[in-house]
Amino acid sequence: MASIPLVYADTPPPQIAVSERVEADRSTRRPVLLFFHSAVVWLLVGSVLGLVASLKFQFPDWLTGQAVLTFGRVRAAHLNAVAYGWASMALVGVAVWMIPRLVRAPLHRPVVATAAAAGWNLFLVLGLGAILAGWTDGLEWLEIPYPIDAIVAVAGGLMATSVLVTVARRKTKHFYVSVWYALAALVWFPILFVTANLPVWSGVGQAAVNWWYGHNTLGLWITSLSLAAAYYLIPKVLGRPIRSYWLSLVGFWALAFFYSLNGIHHLIGGPVPTWLVTVSITASVMMVIPVAATAVNFHTTMAGRFGTLRHSPTLAFTVAGAMIYTAVSLQGSVEALRTVNRVTHFTHFTVGHAHLGVYGFASMIAFGAMYFIVPRLVNWEWPRPALIRWHFWLALTGIAIYFVALTIGGWLEGAWMLDPAKPFAAVVDVTRPYLVARSVGGTLMLAAHCVFAYHYWLMVRRRGPERQEPAWSDGRAAG
């Protein structure tokens, strides 16, 4: 197998390469930091909303005096804050930082990207306000009312334009894998978002659009941006090329083709044409191809170097995220099978799966990327490396408890629901202890985010001890 070379025929000599990277980072500094600052704030907001929603299962009469904090609104606000605030803004920040480095051209008109970040925040502030006030489009993943959606459509368009023009002015002949994923994601998201928000859908047809969009936000947007980051960070930190060019090619095109067809597995057993559900189940199973290709590629790149994880926060978070990507994707393929789905559909099992994907995979990679990028933007090393350890273990333990609890609890819930001899009260009761465990896991995740946010704040204010070496490096070169 041919690996992706570290050095191409058009790779510049080291001193020019370094000065180009410095120039690239200078061009992206402002917009990327704005994306990251915002992402950290939305992470905290989203985590608090998520924990409140979870605790409401233990205390259903808590915060019920006003409509604004009722479960149905807090839950929707949580999803939008973490998906469009935290994950999207963090991962777009990563993409905006990576692309100029990878195409050897400074970011075109950084102010446009900065404006996009500002517009994105305005969309979220108005959107979450609307949801909590009760103004919603009523569709999962598409709650924010479409007049407000126009703001993010413009912001996303500006962002895509800024990146597409930068790429058009590239000095490299070849596109690195990360550029494929990031470019495609920036093309996909505006198409998905605008189409799904057109006010022309109703009934069962609207449910189809809803899940074509909903699953592609995960598959073509959040997943693509996360894989772009992982493909950059793993070889970068290891100083070793990605093992196989061919596998990355298969992984990309198979993901583009199959993931985009997955959505209707959210309507298995529902009032939609059977052939339509079958298409999505087939595509979900076919996802094994891109997932296996990517997993083998990452694993063979890492092979023999797993010890490095102890010396690089970036690698620890990113590799954990990449491994969870493999696990959650294979779980998703199995979950789409009719025999499995008839148990898991409509239960907390799905919620556990969704969190394993967006948190265990995408968020862990976003954390890893931020640990790599921020020192290069603020010219300061992470001042308290021990806090990164706390962040890592709290986050990992939190999502582990969350996922295991909802997987078991959700499966029992589904199995009992299929048994007409079990009254509905028993179905609710069987989930109780697992929902308590979910709140415990969520609390650990919130704690992890408080540690991370505090450390991030120290970092960007250049507070704390001034360190000469990257965190965890013990004199090694890893960063």
């Binding site: 019920t64 999962e140 047809g205 057993g269 009032p271």
Partner: protein, 197 residues
Amino acid sequence: MNRYLVIFLGAVATVTFAFVVLVGVPRMQLASAGAPAGLAPYAATAQQGRELYTSLGCHYCHSQQVRTPSFGADSARGWGRASVPEDYVYDRPHLLGTMRTGPDLANIGVRQPSRDWHYLHLYQPRAVSPYSVMPSFPFLFTLKAQAEMGDEIVNTPPGLIPEGKVLIATPWAQALVDYLLAMKHDYDPHAVVGGGR
């Protein structure tokens, strides 16, 4: 890959293909679904109630789709016959739902026709279903010392509200219950009026 256009057009092509398959073709197929004769469009107050249902996010815990017997115990639980696309011709936004933290509501109007039960259940779910984890919605009601002309009084069991007060369902609560009671999908879905939509 070193072609800009290959990535750009490839991305556009894959997502467009998926859209045509998952959305376009079913839309054409479903366009022939006529409105069932047994299904009435929502009355004005029920439609208001539906908007409130959506705004409070009820659909995050209650599905509105009954699966076939081969797909579970829905019908055996008394939730009604399997749903078909025709059942949703008046639904915008669709509220099919993805969770059954609470039971399916596609036929709640058939299964539970009592207004008082719904009022009590919304005011304090645990007053009628002790196991429930549903949030209470006290803000849809007012407690008054004395009912006034035109007030919708809720009959409450002893101990639920303070001594000497009456529980009044606001117009919001009334609309929401109108909607819940309107959810009846027990007609023959294939006896249709007119043609397409």
